[in-house]
């Protein structure tokens, strides 16, 4: 397995091997699916749309509906304007979306299609919307695309009426529907009214009913996006993912924002709750306090199995950073942190985290890839690997226990329904991690050391 990967360091600057990121449009598509009645539209060659729908479907095991401008060689030469126009007409005609959310591709970006102008030239039916975002695949990653699409919804739609709606805008970041549900539950328990954008719960984890819904019940409604401009505050989860849309809302409608880390683990969920609590007179309900206390109790109980265990984590930057803090809370050593998404903040934040927990000898890298992570692991091994499906080759090659978390998970089921965020998500994650480590202990123990009580 991965026999060509050698531990010797090599200064590789051009060839990307086993990436830990993908391209912007898939992130934009996922964000657009989190708006109710929205048809994500890929402005480019139809293969992009096919790849992205395939990938999202494989992660969520639910339909990922989106359309394409279906560029051919002609469009690539003469521009995609007429393709977009035809697309809009056909989409509104046949699929009747409330809103079409266009994202570009490396093709239309390289051609230089001016989406603003193109959309202005399109005859949009009354009560319908068409928005766009620029998502050149050769910049950033799928996280950037998610961020861009979210910001564009705000840029196009949100308005400040001058009167507060007494709500909080929640930008959840690139997480699963199960995570969004848990973030919303926490806000509800705190009795804080909110609008979440995007909100893929009820879309990408929709129930089986015997009836296919092109636009499932879930998703942020267009009216809600409009009203984001009247929110009191934006809670933006994940600086790398959500700062930009939060800033957009601030610039456009003057809604102040707070950047929060993805609320994975105790401290980061605490931050979320404290942010909510600062908005309300109410005390934090016992329900949350109890869950928190349970998670602390669990972490103390399991520490003999987690303490000082070395972990390698890869995936999306905000996810990796929050997973890293949680494993630190568990007493583990986040030996290697890798994201494929570029950006200096990731490394800075990781270093801050190592410092905060007094860790030395840990490495973090943005714009990294799994080949390099694997090299690191070959040089000094870890006790656990956490990340998406692509880690399974490394896990097998190096015989490391593997916990799947993050995006994409295309070789397992159910993960998208259940949260990693919040104290509840912490319990689940703690169970996955401890289970993986203890199963390994059991597997590797000599017969005489195979224990009934642990």
């Amino acid at each position: 397995m991965l026999d060509y990967t050698k531990k010797e360091t090599y200064d590789r600057n051009a060839l990307r091997v086993n990436p830990a990121k993908t391209c912007q449009p898939v992130g934009a598509m996922y964000a657009a699916l989190g708006v109710h009645g929205c048809m994500p539209h890929s402005h480019g060659s139809q293969g992009c749309c096919a790849f992205h729908r395939m990938f999202l479907t494989r992660h969520f095991k639910d339909p990922a509906m989106a359309s394409s401008s279906s560029f051919t060689e002609g469009a690539s030469v003469f521009g995609g304007g007429s393709n977009l126009k035809t697309s809009a007409k056909n989409l509104f005609d046949i699929y009747n979306p409330k809103i079409i959310a266009v994202h570009t591709t490396c093709l239309s970006e390289t051609i230089g299609d001016d989406l603003n102008a193109l959309i202005q030239g399109i005859d949009i039916p009354e009560g319908k919307y068409m928005v766009h975002t620029n998502t050149p695949s050769y910049k950033g990653s799928h996280i950037t695309g998610f961020s861009n699409m979210t910001a564009s919804f705000i840029q196009y739609l949100s308005k400040a009426s001058g009167k507060t709606n007494r709500k909080v805008a929640i930008l959840p970041g690139f997480v699963n529907p199960g995570d969004m549900r848990e973030m919303k539950r926490i806000a509800s328990v705190m009795q804080i009214p909110y609008t979440m954008l995007p909100d893929t719960s009820g879309v990408m984890d929709s129930p089986m009913t015997g009836k296919f819904e092109l636009y499932p019940k879930g998703g942020t409604k267009v009216e809600e996006i409009k009203s984001l401009g009247d929110c009191e505050l934006t809670l933006a989860f994940g600086k790398i993912t959500s700062e930009m849309p939060a800033e957009t809302l601030y610039k456009k409608c003057n809604v102040p924002f707070k950047i929060l880390p993805l609320p994975i683990g105790i401290g980061r969920t605490d931050e979320y709750i404290m942010a909510l609590q600062s908005l309300t007179k109410a005390e934090v309900p016992y329900e949350l306090e109890e869950e928190r206390g349970q998670l602390v109790d669990i972490l103390i109980d399991i520490h003999p199995y987690t303490y000082n265990k070395k972990v390698a984590i890869f995936g999306d930057p905000d996810t990796v950073l929050s997973l890293a803090e949680f494993v630190l809370e568990m007493g583990m050593v986040p030996k290697y942190l890798v994201t494929g998404t570029p950006g200096e903040y990731f490394q800075t934040a990781a270093e801050d985290l190592f410092l905060k927990f007094g860790m030395s000898g840990c490495k973090a890298k943005a714009s990294g890839d799994l080949y390099e992570l694997h090299q690191w692991i070959k040089e000094e091994g870890v006790d656990l690997l956490i990340g998406g499906t692509h880690g399974k080759y490394i896990a097998r090659a190096e015989d490391i226990p593997f916990v799947r978390a993050g995006f994409p998970i295309i070789d397992r089921y159910i993960h998208s329904y259940l949260p990693l965020v919040g104290y509840k998500g912490g319990m689940r994650l703690a169970e996955l991690i401890t289970g993986a480590l203890m199963d390994r202990m059991d597997r590797d123990s000599a017969e005489e050391d195979f224990e009934m009580v642990m």
Binding site: A14, R16, Y95
Partner: protein
Amino acid sequence: MKEMNRVLDHYNSKVYKNRKEHMVAVGNNDNNNEILANVRTIPGIITQRGCCYAGCKGVVLGPIKDAFIITHGPIGCAYYSWGTRRHKAKKGEGEDNYLQYCFSTDLQESDIVFGGEKKLKQSIEEAMDLFHPHTIFICSTCPVGLIGDDIHAVAKWAEKEYGIKCIAFSCEGYKGVSQSAGHHIANNQLMKYVIGEGDREITNKYSLNLLGEYNIGGDGWEVERLLKRIGYEVISTFTGGSSMDDLKNSHQANLSLVQCHRSINYIAELIETKYGIPWMKINFIGVEGTIKSLRDIAKYFNDPALTARTEAVIADELDFIEQDIEYYKSKLKGKTAAIYVGGSRAHHYQFLLNDFGVRTILAGYEFGHREEYEGREVLPFIKPDADSKNIESITVEPDPKKYHLYLSEEDINKLKEEKLIGYYGGMVKDMKNGTYMVDDLNHFETEEFLKILKPDIFFSGIKDKFVAQKAGVLSRQLHSYDYSGPYSCFRGAVNFARDIAMGIYTPAWSYVKAPWKAAPILEGTVGGEEAC
């Protein structure tokens, strides 16, 4: 016919006009079942089709285990085609196998602005340092064509610099109208730079190429097992599980078998012209299909011992699966299916379904051409359009040294007349009147046809699988076999039937409707707002 019209009636006139030509109510039309295929999808219509890159890198080149494929472009395309198609390959001794890896130049904005050739070259240098491959393929994605990187020049440079084989494939996503363009581009380059280069010694005269078999879920291995049992030698499989060396030696075979007609028929034709090897359309999907194919091959080689061995193996394989086949037939008989997949499977799987008494009521190809629907007899009547003209067409001459005939020209011509070789009859001849053939079946039509025709199973791909299932219709992926397989030949038929049966009989279907949706709401006394 009326079902088809009910679907079409939703369209505006422009779309109606276009889509109408992609649909055939078999035996119930005044156009001799003629269909429109291999043309552009209308923008905004939710198609399941992919692109040229997917057909070239994803389908044809991807399975070649020891070709080090660098996707030249932004990261996405390489990423999506990493380990996501189930073309299996074993690493033999002394062989390379890069299937677990994904290589890309991961082009950045500055590369788009200033050109990506430099980064491509450096990537090749790094690949040579770290992996020492003997063969590098360069596959370009959309922007590369636009910014004008000369990947073919880079390939030449690499061959010179490193003494390796390096082939460039200009398979930008926007080329052509579907994956089909990519197959063509891949085929052309393999023909130009790979086939015919080998000099492996072949002693078995019953030597075959297995073309258009990508070893999804191990299909190719099962075919090979069967052919070997009879006494054949499979020199090359295009391209499932093959090494470069296998492909290089394909010119030495005495017969080319064509499984997926769409993706590989170019090569089959060119090999025949250049090396004298006839090709035969076979089909190893389905029990009856497999038996017929084996007998046809034996007929070509025309050796009584081989024929006897063929019959003995058929009998033995049948014996092995007989009980299972009967069992699953009892579970599946009378069910109906709709099939919408790639360039030949929608045809092949009808045979397999037929083995179990499952009727196919709708079938279509995602990227087939008219000949896959109507048979090669329509070839002279297909007018190339702008999109197909853009794809290079190559011609070859007989190779003075390597051209060889196993049969006499006379025998070959006889077999061609019999349509045993050099011919493919297409799908429509095997479809019953009253069924439908739909090309480039899109999301809207899928939804509508499922509602109207109510098949028990919908065979398709991952993108529409859950669309069907949400609507309560079992869906199995026939691109990837839903992570099962092999489905080919005798034993594969049992695997297939097992998978279909478990899908149909899986108890969860009976829970779709919540009981409270059926039961009346009683007037209770506890709870509700008043009590809380």
